[in-house]
Amino acid sequence: MKNVAIILRRPPYGDINAAEAVRHAMGGASDDLSVSLILMDAGVLILMAGQDVSGTGFTNLGEALTDCLDMGVSVYAERQSMRQHRLDSRDIPERVRQVNGYEIAEIIKVSDTTMIF
């Protein structure tokens, strides 16, 4: 099975990157690829609880991330980025693994392909 690492560095909604990262993660998972979605920098803001898109026409990216987890995508969040953006481990889904830069390097090293959003 091929491994794909998808890195998300941009915050949700302001541009298309977060939606694209999640979309490609789902696409990979449904195509039987092993997908690692790595949240770094402002990309960790997709983990914020209570995103409410009612009346906007936007896809709820917090819920889409949960869908990714349900589909078997491994989701990682960089600890330092979480601290920078004031996210507490208690606020994020349990299945999201918190990692440091070294661990992220290891994930990227074993991936066949890396995509950056």
Partner: protein
């Protein structure tokens, strides 16, 4: 004068917008990723009035706002733009 900031606090653009507003003694209106500035202790002691677009706050799950930040709708944003002699941005 009102400065509109759409870029998040971790970007050079967002910081530039905030600094420019401070230097010009302008008020700011936060939209898109700029609404993350409305979280506590992000505004670096900004003294002017701070407005933040409610819809963009809600989408991002931002609830714990800095004291004094005024949430507004597009309705309010339009009023601000009409009332102010100059609208600068969006950074």
């Amino acid at each position: 004068m009102i400065v509109i900031i759409k870029s998040s606090p971790d970007t050079a653009e967002g910081g530039r917008g905030l600094k420019l507003a401070r230097d010009m003694a302008a008020d700011i209106c936060l939209i898109q990723g700029g609404v993350y500035f409305a979280e506590k202790e992000r505004l670096e002691g900004f003294c002017g009035t701070v407005y933040a677009l409610e819809e963009d706050l809600r989408m991002r799950g931002i609830r714990d706002l800095e004291k004094g930040v005024i949430p507004i709708g597009y309705d309010g944003l339009t009023d601000l733009a009409a009332e102010n002699d100059k609208v600068v941005g969006a950074f």
